[in-house]
């Protein structure tokens, strides 16, 4: 098994603030990889670095062995990295179906001229995009809402739509930023099963930021713990649970020696 994503000694500074410092993460193909850490540890910053919203100050990010540090966000997405956002970012005025189609569009190849003049390839491609997008909505329970306006839907459905939309890109790697935020215990358990199913069905590697330990411990093959922008531990859920530095970071103990 090889590393799908390698974050290699990455540092990100915002002026004087060091949000990420010499961070190393290796995500194996086919794994579910958890990223945990206290608030402000730099987890979302790490996602923004991977997806190109920020450029690393130092270090390199490799996806399938190829450096993606400094590429534009759109390019990185097209290389096969889909993501969801901590505070849902949907096209709120568009329908559910159109939200998915926008992501699916990267697989349509007609040119602007063909679009403007409505040449035959456009119709074929568009019908395919509608059919495949509808098909994608089904396992998410979104089929009855396909023509609803995304912003009018319930929070839970919007979360699901965001995942469906990310999968429409046909990504190899899916980054989920707090997918269980705002869900209760029962819903979180259902989400765990659902993500497991997504992982096998779409053959996608998952990286998730999450605070619900239950979900992380149950789902993830490996976990990276960040604190103050640094990797303080990496290992299997069982190892992480026993790690004194992790316990220290979470519970804020002062007795444990630093470093």
């Amino acid at each position: 098994m090889s590393a799908l994503l390698e974050i290699d000694n990455v540092t990100k500074r915002f002026g004087g603030l060091c949000a990420i410092s010499k961070c190393n993460v290796r995500v194996m193909e086919g794994h579910a990889h958890g990223i945990i850490g206290p608030n402000g540890a730099g987890k979302t910053t790490l996602f923004n670095l991977i997806t190109g919203i920020y450029k690393p100050t130092e270090g390199d990010i490799r996806f399938r062995g190829e450096s993606i540090a400094g590429l534009r966000p759109g390019r990185i997405a097209l290389k096969g990295i889909g993501r969801t956002f901590q505070n849902i970012r949907l096209c709120k005025n568009l329908t559910v179906l159109d939200n998915v189609r926008i992501a699916f569009d990267s697989q349509l190849h007609y040119s602007p001229l063909e679009a403007m003049l409505r040449l035959p390839r456009l119709g074929r491609d568009e019908r395919r995009s509608i059919d495949e997008s509808m098909k994608l909505l089904e396992p998410f329970g979104l089929t009855p809402h396909a023509h609803a306006v995304a912003g009018d839907m319930s929070y839970g459905l919007q979360r699901k739509l965001e995942i469906a939309r990310a999968l429409a890109l046909k990504p190899r790697l899916l980054l989920l930023d707090e997918p269980a935020a705002g869900l209760n215990t029962g819903e979180t358990a259902a989400l765990t099963e659902f993500l497991r199913w997504v992982k096998s069905e779409f053959q996608v590697t998952l990286v998730l930021i999450e605070h619900h330990m239950h979900l992380v411990m149950n789902l993830c093959d490996r976990i990276t713990v960040l604190d103050f922008g640094q990797t303080i531990a990496e290992g299997t859920p069982a190892e992480i649970r026993e790690n004194p530095r992790v316990i220290d970071a979470y519970l804020g103990g002062t007795e444990v020696e630093q470093g």
């Binding site: 966000p73 889909g82 005025n93 568009l94 189609r101 569009d105 007609y110």
Partner: protein
């Protein structure tokens, strides 16, 4: 009655029939004394304004940016076509179509450059860049002796009603096709959330360039038609007031709606003519309408909604409808 209108709304034949009838009417007006020259002039202006409004809507409505430079593209189109008809190809058979296409192409080329310059800017900053562009175009034209300087140019009158109508249909058809393609969805996604659009693999640069260039092209086309109907163009015809008028039409009719663009242009042009008697007071009434509109219907009459006639068949059930 209601059922009749609903079935009419869903009818796929209604729009093509209307287009044919409209064209026939325009041709009839040209050869038969149905309407007087003044009315004809107003109708041509309605057509030109529809083209301006629909094309600006692509950037300001569908893409959600705020460009105030549309009069600049109009000026480019007008002057390019005037140069073509006066200096390069006077009185040749092709001058009519060529001049309009040339006007559009020049505007599109400059629109392309403007898009390159303004990638990273949004909102207020883009408004300032387009404002600067408008001022550059206006003062450039004022100072180029070849283009008549402040005195302007007097291109021959070539545009007639059927020709204006033809371009209205072409403009709406092409913008409609673009909007309901992956490019239109990309443009709309940029309006909704640029960061999310990026994460969805939308080629943001490509979409912005396309929206800007297409919008500029039809702005130029409108300018070329305007030059050929007015017998006279000068730099003052393309100042910020002109841009404001187009903006009013877009926000009156409704953002991200072609039906809205038509409605906005028609209402504005007719109102503008009807209020002619008010003289300078017209300049008070029009902005007042705009203020009231922003308070009571900030997205315009048809904001974000579309008449089913304009939707491609496969999209009929995928969009919000009025």
């Amino acid at each position: 009655m209601r059922a009749f209108f609903e079935s009419l709304g869903r009818s796929r034949m209604a729009l093509p029939i209307l287009v044919v009838l409209g064209f026939a009417f325009c041709v009839a007006c040209e050869f038969l004394p149905i309407i007087n020259t003044y009315t004809k002039g107003v109708l041509i202006m309605v057509g030109i304004n529809i083209i301006l409004c629909a094309s600006l809507n692509l950037v300001n409505g569908y893409m959600g940016e705020f460009s105030v430079g549309h009069a600049g593209f109009m000026a480019l189109g007008a002057y390019a076509s005037a140069v073509m008809t006066i200096k390069w190809l006077p009185a040749s058979v092709f001058e009519l179509p060529l001049a309009v296409l040339f006007g559009g192409t020049v505007a599109a080329a400059i629109g392309f450059l403007l898009a390159l310059l303004s990638f990273k800017t949004r909102g207020d900053y883009l408004a300032i860049i387009t404002l600067a562009f408008l001022m550059i175009v206006k003062s450039a034209v004022e100072n180029i002796e070849y283009l008549g300087g402040p005195r302007g140019m007097t291109p021959p009158v070539l545009t007639n009603l059927p020709w204006a109508f033809f371009w209205v249909v072409v403009t709406l058809w092409i913008i409609r096709n673009l909007v309901y393609s992956k490019f239109g969805r990309a443009i709309t996604a940029i309006r909704e959330d640029e960061i999310a659009a990026n994460a969805m693999g939308v080629r943001v640069r490509e979409a912005k360039i396309l929206a800007f260039s297409t919008s500029a092209f039809f702005g130029g086309v409108a300018g070329a038609l305007y030059a050929q109907v007015n017998f006279f163009i000068d730099p003052k015809s393309f100042d910020i007031v002109r841009s404001t008028e187009i903006l009013v039409m877009v926000y009156l009719g409704g953002v991200a709606s072609l039906a809205g663009s038509i409605l906005g242009a028609v209402i504005f042009t007719l109102l503008f003519q009807a209020l002619q008697d008010l003289g300078t007071w017209r300049m008070v009434v029009m902005p007042l309408i705009l203020v009231l509109l922003m308070i009571f219907r900030p997205r315009g009459i048809m904001g974000m909604k579309e008449l089913p006639w304009f939707l491609p068949k496969r999209e009929l059930f995928t969009k919000r409808q009025p």
